[in-house]
Symmetry: C2
């Protein structure tokens, strides 16, 4: 009985064309990572739920895919015990009884777990990259999938700003290879902390940053109104105003901020943390200037990405010529592995959003042509004897590195031409009885129509013609 | 509170060294696939359970990992209904209520589903390869994992023996690139069917093949005893005897078998199916002889791999110099997609066992040296100013394709040397105040001790020295 086949909502098949395009992105990224000395690792798709739970907030816990324990996990469970007063079941508690494993939700927590578990085998500073799928039971929508690849690069075990620089270099090189113009925005969590300190509301760094983040959309007055609503005093708002009006070159911005943090604000307060953040930014931008980076890199103090998580630099990358959210982002985290028992490991990393980068390359038509077909030459099949004749020629060409196919069936030439056309194979060879008798191989360039005949042993001639 | 981190039983982390070695295998295989015009696809890790169930037998159904439906799948279930008389729960029925998705168990069923679902987008014959992990809730043991990669290559939509040939060529090329001597064994399901037919027990093809398969281990008499035990008559055993004694060249084996199938056996019966199988083998071995294949390829009529599944050729590949089970295998299946509503699609494919191939390469010490470190040159960090001096040199080398690192922290040189050593980085550059003043770059070959000084702009010289 035939089933109509389908795949789960929010998941995707990738056919040859899309795979070739995705591989083009991954290969480009991987190549840049390697050129900077980052080594690839892979972690299991399934982690212990205890490794994952509590790491992504309550909302994240709900989005974890749980794997039903194999065998019979049911008989040992007293289901009545999980019935709540309203008659529904306590899904959270019950699923813990039935499932001890979950699917990877991101690559960061498994990386932290990996570093702690293998700390004695690792040469620190550890420069690693990881390209693997993650799973989230999110509601599927345009551009949001339940299975998608993440592409993370991190260095852990060094506090040097050279690490931050290197990530910016990597972003620069990746997008320059992909021929996509981007803007790299940089912020520093310590500066945001410092701002909250000098305005006298050190606990409200999130409120302050969320408000600042809306400046472009709602304007200065609305931002200040929102801050007052959150309980900030007039003086605090006055302290923050110069930050909202910040402009000029990077050096000018840094100088303005340094003056503010150093007692020059309306409150007169000094923030050591803020000054340290500015030192970091200044050192980083000094490196950026000296490293010959073609990409535009700018300070953006409203950048608040992953605020509860990062402790130093914060990065975000946007495409300049295509409207889409951030296509890459990350930052520095000072205590990622502490939760697994290894304190004081500072790391910094960014994650490339493969799906969005894919959309940008599609939108800007930046994929190289003829990615899909690796095949350069198709030998038409004119019968068993003729196929036998071309077999050693095809083998020799392959040994020389050329991708070659022999059409498997001796069907009508029209059908074989169609196959070459659908696979975008640029060269076709038709060797019939005449060629076999003469010991020659005919090759035709299907786009130019140019056709040539070679002695069957003239590999060099064929390879030159195939280009 | 620190958790002691661990991963689920039967799963693995792959660190830099192992990843590099695994990538070496995958890259080699992928490269050969592409050179034959096979295109890569990927399917989702999760499939509908309805797609997977019933495809791998009862045992397989039990080994499927099931994903708990997200949200609350419990409240809608009347658990009492699933209580069996012995007090245990009906795990099979209940899990279907709680889980609609399962993890991929192999790549073949998802491939069949893919072909049916995308049949209008596909150019047939469809030559595809797929390298992705699969999951099985099997009991973990040495060499058996719950998550492992499969590496499948198939062509679907052609009955030509050129497809079988191409798979043998691919095996030949892969293992010759990996420098592993292998033996390819070939059988044909139709010949086995024919044997069962001429001996008069057409329904006992499995019993007969299982018995023949033991010839090497238990000897002729024991095999014949087993066949009698399974109900075969004396005459049937007599019909099969010449097959057990089969020897000589491929041509001689084929001739002996052809005579038997053509009425020359003790029963005098003729098997059309058997003769068709021999025609296929003869055509295939004709192609093999003409294609210049270096690997030993031989007929083995005891090869019974996946008997319920294959309808034509059956393949198995063994390493000649390392004792381990089959490292690659496959065959032809005439109706793989029928179950999803697309009949008469004949396909043939093989699957490379990445984990076993890994073990063989380890055992025979066939991995190339220095796979792990992609980094060619480490610039020691002598301080912020010196780091700034080498930054543009490092960038220029990377642009020229050289993998380069700058050690991020200005720590003791001993520590930086250790880092180079642990990452097997072959060249080290120490640029201190003298080099900065002179505008030069010192590079040392850490294994030969050879050291040279270059002008900071002399990229060509450095690249030549780095090799």
């Amino acid at each position: 009985m035939a089933q109509k086949p389908s795949i789960p909502k929010g998941t995707r098949d990738f056919g040859p064309q899309e795979m070739a395009e995705r591989n083009y992105i991954f290969d480009t990224i991987r190549d840049v990572f390697r050129r900077h000395g980052y080594a690839q690792i892979e972690t299991p798709s399934m982690e212990q739920l205890s490794t994952l739970l509590g790491k992504y907030g309550d909302e994240g816990d709900k989005l974890l895919y749980r794997i039903l324990d194999s065998g019979d996990p049911f008989t040992r469970v007293d289901f009545g015990q999980y019935r709540l007063e309203d008659g529904s079941m306590n899904a959270k508690a019950l699923s813990l009884q039935l499932c001890e494993k979950g699917l990877r939700y991101d690559l960061t927590v498994p990386f932290a777990r990996f570093v702690v578990q293998h700390q004695n085998e690792i040469a620190f500073p550890f420069k690693r990259f990881q390209i693997q799928p993650v799973w989230r039971a999110d509601r599927p929508q345009k551009g949001r999938y339940r299975e998608f690849y993440q592409c993370d690069v991190d260095v852990i075990g060094s506090r040097s700003q050279l690490c931050e620089l290197e990530l910016i270099q990597i972003v620069d090189e990746v997008f320059s290879k992909l021929d996509v113009r981007v803007l790299v925005k940089v912020n520093n969590r310590k500066v945001l902390t410092g701002l909250a300190e000098i305005c006298g509301f050190p606990d409200q760094v999130v409120d302050i940053t969320v408000a600042i983040d809306k400046l472009d959309k709602i304007g200065l007055e609305a931002v200040e109104a929102e801050m007052r609503e959150k309980g900030l005093s007039d003086q605090a708002v006055e302290v923050i105003r110069p930050v909202l009006l910040l402009s000029g070159t990077t050096a000018e911005k840094l100088a303005t901020m340094r003056a503010l943090m150093n007692g020059g604000s309306a409150s007169g307060r000094v923030s050591e943390t803020g000054l340290r953040g500015l030192d970091e930014l200044e050192e980083l931008f000094g490196f950026v200037a000296g490293a010959g980076i073609g990409t535009q890199v700018e300070i953006d103090l409203s950048l608040a990405r992953g605020l509860n998580y990062y402790t130093g630099a914060i990065f975000e990358v946007k495409a300049l010529d295509w409207q889409i959210g951030s296509i890459c982002g990350g930052g520095r985290y000072d205590n990622l592995t502490g939760i697994f028992g290894l304190p004081d490991m500072s790391g910094v990393g960014v994650s490339f959003g493969a799906d969005r980068i894919f959309d940008v390359l599609k939108g800007l038509e930046k994929f190289p042509e003829a990615l899909a077909s690796s095949t350069r030459l198709l030998f038409a099949n004119m019968g068993a004897q003729e196929a036998g004749y071309v077999l050693p020629v095809a083998s020799a060409l392959r040994r020389a590195g050329v991708s070659v196919e022999i059409y498997p069936d001796a069907v009508k030439l029209k059908k074989q031409f169609d196959y070459a056309d659908r696979k975008s194979i640029p060269f076709l060879s038709i060797c019939g009885a005449d060629e076999v008798a003469a010991g020659t191989v005919q090759i035709k360039n299907l786009s130019s129509g140019d056709q040539r005949s070679f002695a069957a042993g003239d590999l060099a001639g064929m390879i030159a013609f195939l280009g």
